[in-house]
Amino acid sequence: MFVPCDRGGGGSAGSDFKGFTLLMPAVSVGNVGQLAIDLVISTLDMTKVGYFYTDCLVPMVGNNPYATAEENSMELSINAEVYSLPSKKLVVLQIRSPFIKNKYRPFCQTLLSWVKSSKCARIVLLSSSHAYQCDDEQLLGTPLRYLLTPDLEKAVGGLMQELSWKEMEKVAAYPGINDTEKVLHIPGGGITKLLFTESCSKGIQMAVLLKFCSEGDNIPDAFALVSYLNEWLQLIKSEVNTSSQWKIPSSWRLLFGNGLPPALF
């Protein structure tokens, strides 16, 4: 699945992820996870180390979405690419297109076995969930939630308490009929629930960070989610006005359409 880039000097160092944290998005409502990942890759100026050759995502290709100048704007970029920052033991997967029908489970299984074989220490999944499904209590207070697999709970559960983070609530399996049986329900979360439950059963250390949101201009949601992530992983120095420290990639231009025809006025 993973195909390393051949970078003359880097060699195989680019694909050695032992002990690294894998940060990745779920393709979810508002594409918030993916936007947040774009901010991480762009701000930390991460190097592409490879891509996933997979039949699970709709194909797409374009030029470098993190281009800053003419010289670096001509590298091709596809739907699932891997970036790394060895100094922070961070490897990031970015997913740029939706899943193909019936391919969610195969993708999750292949991804998790790659995580195991490349010996990543843990996975952090950035996701989102439909805000219109919030109950009264969830509407008050923070829209950010976290989830930890049992294996990661042991390692960082205490830290979440210190940060005063809110764990994602479970909902009744049969609302109105039987309120005692509770299940995890992440509407609009894409592969989040599937990946989380698979990680629990495979003993993989995984954290899910998600935000309740709706479709629209999801840039503020992405900033909120990436700041939430930063409270824990400390990827950049957090100052008072953190939103100005994340670098918006050049590919975010024209998110809401082209310029207007002058003849309109």
């Binding site: 709709v58 194909p59 030029n63 969610y104 082209n258 310029g259």
Partner: protein
């Protein structure tokens, strides 16, 4: 999501997330489900048929991949028509293969005599240099078939020294630019190239944030 009229509707997600589909996938498959899924998959399988010298169609067997130096693929009606109008003729080119597929949008057959209005996917070879291959694909290859098309077609050819050129069209309205597309002189050409492509490109490169998707991207 509540609409102006007060009724609550499920808003479609830009992320392509369909919760009903997820619920379906999350359920364990019964043997009947598996059987149905296999039948559906068989129906959507792609067959690449190469014609041998005798002119009869035959299944692409696990034979030797053939040598190919240049492979030009035209995807979509416009690109296919371009090849028909300016490149292809019966003197210099011969039909060597066809792709047979079915999806909800179109069906192609294994016949190699087609009308311009048909949906087809044909392979031609330059008679004077049989390593030059051309593909005219006017049919729509569905999302779940694109990877299969790619593997089956490229699986038949040796890739050393292979140069691939993909011709395709997109609506001008989809082009993202600072100005309005109304004032853009169209049609216009844009290109994407891999870093291994060292020759001169005949037009400007596709600027961010524009992308290409589906079979040309695959």
């Amino acid at each position: 999501m509540a609409t102006f009229f007060g009724e609550v509707v499920v808003a479609p997600s830009r992320a392509g997330v369909d919760d009903e589909e997820w619920a379906e996938e999350a359920r364990e498959e019964t043997p009947e489900d598996r059987e149905i899924r296999r039948e559906l998959e068989k129906k959507r399988e792609i067959d690449v048929l190469w014609t041998v010298k005798s002119g009869a169609s035959t299944e692409s067997t696990a034979g030797e991949p053939f040598a190919c130096s240049k492979f030009i693929v035209a995807i979509g009606h416009n690109a296919a028509a371009f090849l028909s109008s300016f490149i292809l003729d019966s003197v210099c080119w011969e039909v060597v293969g066809v792709v047979k597929l079915w999806n909800e949008w179109c069906r192609t057959s294994s016949t190699t005599t087609v009308l311009p209005t048909d949906s087809f996917c044909l392979f031609y070879r330059l008679i004077s240099d049989p390593t030059v291959l051309l593909c005219q694909c006017s049919c729509y290859v569905a999302e779940d078939q694109q990877f299969q098309w790619l593997e089956k077609v490229f699986g038949c050819m040796r890739k050393e020294g292979l140069q691939v050129t993909i011709l395709s069209t997109c609506p001008v309205a989809d082009y993202k630019t600072q100005e309005s597309t109304l004032t853009l002189p169209s049609p216009f050409l844009k290109a994407l190239k891999t870093k291994e492509f060292k020759e001169q490109v005949c037009c400007p490169l596709l600027e961010q944030p524009n992308i290409v998707r589906d079979l040309p991207a695959a």
